[in-house]
């Protein structure tokens, strides 16, 4: 089967389009999150997404419509993590751990009350981008535009608080507002990425392109570009390889990202003077 034949399938076209959009979002946001030591926020919010999806399924709300249940719940959870770190004097990882555990607990209880785990809920756990619908692609495209617009508008503020929050405040940046913007954009992306790689593997899409780019980038903008490029390439390659080998797409995307990370580390060693051996 050649590439053109694979591309002729509607479900492959939808998967590629939605996958690339989501990968760009996650990779770009991942750079800010990794540098702010909030890498695991994706994991925590993914667990909340699991809980919110269980709510949707309990009310027989499926597919694209379930996003409308997940979005507000996960947005609130993202702000909850921030407030916990500010008000309860918790470190970021502890706050993420609390919200994550509550999200998964809510999901388990609702799934249990709703008659146990079913195929729909498991598809959210491990992702199934090849089953993405036209409506979900449109929602992904709409949210992609919103998130990229906000990222563009707040780019320098985000860079400033990522570099140093104290210095950012003295430059007049409203650090609380910008931190809220960052976690809310992350929440939107996590809900979208749920269908792509699944709840269990979302954090890899946020972290791996970012840490690979950090190995090689020679400026902040280059870092953002490299991360986005890796995210796109990993999704496209993951979809093709999984289609050809009949292996799960989400796991394949993660493994290809890991391969890119290994290559980036090796390349850095080669390019760093004194480390050429």
């Amino acid at each position: 089967m050649d590439i053109l034949e694979i591309l002729s399938y509607g479900f492959i076209q939808r998967a590629l389009l939605a996958g690339v959009l989501i990968a760009v979002l996650c990779s770009v946001l991942g750079v800010f999150l990794v540098l702010r030591r909030l890498s695991l926020i994706g994991d925590g919010l993914a667990h909340v997404t699991f809980g919110s999806t269980a709510i949707a399924l309990a009310f027989k709300i499926y597919s694209a419509a379930s996003l409308l249940v997940s979005l507000p719940v996960v947005l609130l959870a993202s702000l909850g993590i921030l407030r916990l770190t500010e008000k309860a004097r918790l470190s970021g990882d502890a706050a993420i751990g609390i919200v994550s555990a509550v999200g998964i607990a809510a999901g388990i209880i609702l799934a249990s009350v709703g008659g146990g785990y079913n195929v729909d809920l498991l598809s959210y756990l491990f992702g199934n981008i090849l089953s993405i619908t036209r409506e979900e692609v449109l929602i992904a495209a709409g949210l992609f535009c919103v998130v990229m617009l906000l990222l563009g508008l707040f780019f320098n503020d985000l860079l400033a608080i990522t570099f140093n929050e104290e210095l950012a405040r003295v430059s007049g940046v409203q650090t609380r507002l910008i931190s809220s913007v960052l976690v809310m954009l992350t929440a939107l992306s996590v809900v979208l990425a749920m269908k792509l790689v699944g709840i269990m593997l979302i954090s890899s899409l946020l972290i791996l392109p970012a840490v690979s780019a950090l190995q090689l980038a020679r400026s902040f903008k280059a870092c953002i570009g490299l991360a986005a490029l890796q995210g796109c390439c990993s999704v496209v390659a993951g979809i093709f390889v999984s289609f050809i080998t009949n292996l799960p797409t989400s796991a394949m995307i993660v493994l290809i990202n890991l391969l890119f990370f290994g290559c980036a580390c090796s390349l850095r060693r080669l390019l760093t003077p004194g480390n050429s051996n």
Binding site: L35, G152, L153, F154, N156, D157, L159, A160, T162, F163, N164, E166, L167, A168, R169, V170, S171, G172, V173, A213, L214, A217, R218, S219, F220, K221, A222, C223
Partner: protein, 250 residues
């Protein structure tokens, strides 16, 4: 340039663990160069952080350019260089030029964009501080002295009227430290920039600063270095021999 730049009245910063600062009253005028000195834990950094609204004031008041510090928003008039050791994430991928450009955000309104004119301003500031040739390097790859100059450039790029430096020389070797102090003194003299500099180097800063502020939770001295060297209170505090060494290092 004239007038009051900083005024504190009975300023206090107290937390659950106790008071870090009590009853601090002083005024800094435009063009002054004030060295803030004192032992470890004396509240030097807390004082400048209170002036910048980074820590809460529990009693008294503090004003910058006539505005209360807790609601201050004229950030374009201020340049700040924090203690550097804990500041820089070594894997942070920003170039020197990108880092310095962030200092211009204080002059901008939403959406804060860095324009071509801004980049020219950044280049001019880097040139003035003698670090133009490293503008494309990553900040994490620089030596301590170079990083300090980059952060000073970041604080200077918006042409501030007040420069607040918190232990800027802590990570530097003595030679680089002396060069740094001379650079700050030159900026103070040639541009009329008011400087508040926190340091442990009482003797060295005394050669450059127009006024000394000695803190140990309370303000124990505020005046010229000459007066500091002849103050019976300081002599009682340090002992005559130590005071002599401090005041006659050069």
């Amino acid at each position: 340039m004239s007038g009051e730049v900083v005024r504190t009245e009975q300023l206090g910063c107290c937390y659950r663990e106790g008071c870090v600062l009590e009853d601090i009253s002083f005024t800094v005028n435009a063009g002054d160069y004030v060295g803030i000195v004192g032992p470890n834990g004396s509240g030097k950094s807390t004082l400048v952080q209170a002036l910048l609204g980074l820590v809460a004031i529990s009693s008294g008041s503090a004003r910058l350019f006539g505005s209360r510090c807790d609601g201050f928003n004229q950030w374009g008039r201020v340049g700040y260089l924090p203690q550097s050791l804990h500041l820089l994430n070594p894997i942070f991928p920003a170039t020197v030029a990108e880092t310095v450009g962030l200092g211009l955000l204080s002059l901008k309104r939403f959406p804060r964009r860095i324009t071509r004119q801004d980049r020219e301003k950044v280049d001019a500031t880097l040139d003035t501080l003698g670090i133009y040739d490293i503008r494309a390097k990553l900040i994490g790859e620089l030596s301590g002295g170079q990083q300090q100059r980059v952060l000073l450039a970041r604080a200077m790029v918006n042409d501030p009227e007040l420069l607040i430096l918190d232990e800027p020389t802590a990570a530097l070797d003595p030679e680089t430290r002396e060069r740094f102090y001379r650079m700050i003194a030159e900026i103070n003299r040639s541009r009329g920039v008011t400087v508040l500099l926190v340091t442990h180097d009482t003797g060295v800063i005394g050669q450059h600063a127009t006024r000394m502020l000695y803190l140990d939770k309370r303000m124990l001295f505020f005046g010229s270095f000459d007066d500091f060297c002849h103050s019976p209170e300081m002599s009682a505090l340090f002992g005559e021999h130590s005071q002599h060494l401090m005041c006659h290092r050069h």
